[in-house]
Amino acid sequence: MRITVHLLGQLRHLAARDSVSIEVGEGATVRDVVMQVAAGYDEAFRAIVLDAQGALRPSLMVLHNDIPIDKASAPRLREGDQVTLLTAIAGG
């Protein structure tokens, strides 16, 4: 199934694009999608998304169809779902 992942904050800047569309298997979770997207980018991108143990970083906000999710809940996705990755920002 095809999922669109929107990138905001530093991730959009590092990826130099607004979103990516990826193909994942049935039963994929939000975390699976984030891992797949992160694998396509460099260490700076991955470090913002994942910690050293490969878990989603606490400073990363993840939206599933525009609703923030508890990253521990690992909701399963459906065809056409939108995932948004929003990084912590502090520009003043």
């Binding site: 905001l8 904050g9 530093q10 959009r12 800047h13 607004d18 700076a44 470090a47 913002i48 970083r57 606490p58 400073s59 990363l60 906000m61 939206l63 525009d66 609703i67 923030p68 508890d70 929003l86 990084t87 912590a88 920002i89 502090a90 520009g91 003043g92």
Partner: protein, 247 residues
């Protein structure tokens, strides 16, 4: 509370017409105080709009001297002030705009060493600092002193604002338990992007201080000027939050 003078009624006449605000709201604003952390691209327009609206007292904290690269966004600065303390330019501009305004200005940034004393002395805090350690220091002080914190931030063409009411809403450490890796003090920015966050932050503060009621308590307004899309996102408290949690 100190009542409005005839001069103040004349200056604020147009906003006294705002439904739910009126002379009562203006009087509350006159008797209120706010801490603004840094007066750069974001904190500058926050301080300016608070001054315009008629807040009684501002406490401003910002260290360092003005650089040429500040002048694409720091609207309280002037070109002739390059090389001189930013805070002095900010005070001059604000006093010229609103001579009734009482200003306490510190030529230093917020830190764990000064946050408690500064936060304790005001009614509300506007967090406009470019570094997470400054933001976290203000958050800890606001939670400790039960002071509302308007947290505004931006990056490139995006911005966000939330209102933190200690004991009621998530605090900043609930939203971001850690500094994200790779965050730097210098970041891509057009001046209009932090101005938008500043305007939203100030309106949230004015509504809270004047009794009109806030809108962004426990919610984050996130805007993207690249797509001109705005989202209002619900936020959740963390029971295990190191700052405001139960454990």
């Amino acid at each position: 509370m100190i009542p409005l003078t005839d001069e103040e009624k004349a200056v604020y006449e147009w906003q006294l017409w705002v439904r739910g605000f009126g002379e009562d709201g203006q009087t509350r604003l006159k008797n209120a105080s706010a801490l603004v952390s840094r007066v750069g691209g974001l904190g500058g327009p926050v301080a300016l709009e608070l001054a315009a609206a008629g807040i009684g007292r501002l406490v401003l904290a910002h260290g360092g001297d003005l650089r040429p690269s500040d002048l694409n966004r720091q609207v309280l600065m002037t070109h002739d002030w390059i090389g001189k303390p930013r805070i002095e330019s900010a005070v001059q501009r604000l006093k010229a705009f609103n001579p009734r305004l009482e200003i306490e200005a510190l030529p230093e940034n917020i830190s764990d060493a000064n946050a408690d004393a500064l936060v304790a002395g005001v009614d509300i805090v506007f967090d406009c600092a470019p570094l997470f350690q400054e933001r976290f220091a203000m958050n800890r002080a606001c939670v400790a002193h039960r002071k509302p914190l308007v947290d505004a931030a931006m990056f490139e063409m995006e911005g966000q604002v939330t209102l933190i009411i200690p004991g009621e809403t998530p605090c900043l450490a609930c939203i971001y338990p850690e500094s994200p890796p790779g965050w730097k003090r210098q970041f891509p920015v057009f001046g209009a992007v932090p101005c938008l966050a500043a305007a939203i932050a100030v309106m949230e503060g004015i509504k809270l201080l004047s009794g009109m009621g806030p809108s962004l308590a426990g919610k984050m307004l996130y805007y993207d000027t690249r797509t001109m899309r705005m989202r209002t996102l619900p936020l959740a408290r963390r029971r295990d939050c190191a700052v405001c949690g139960e454990t």
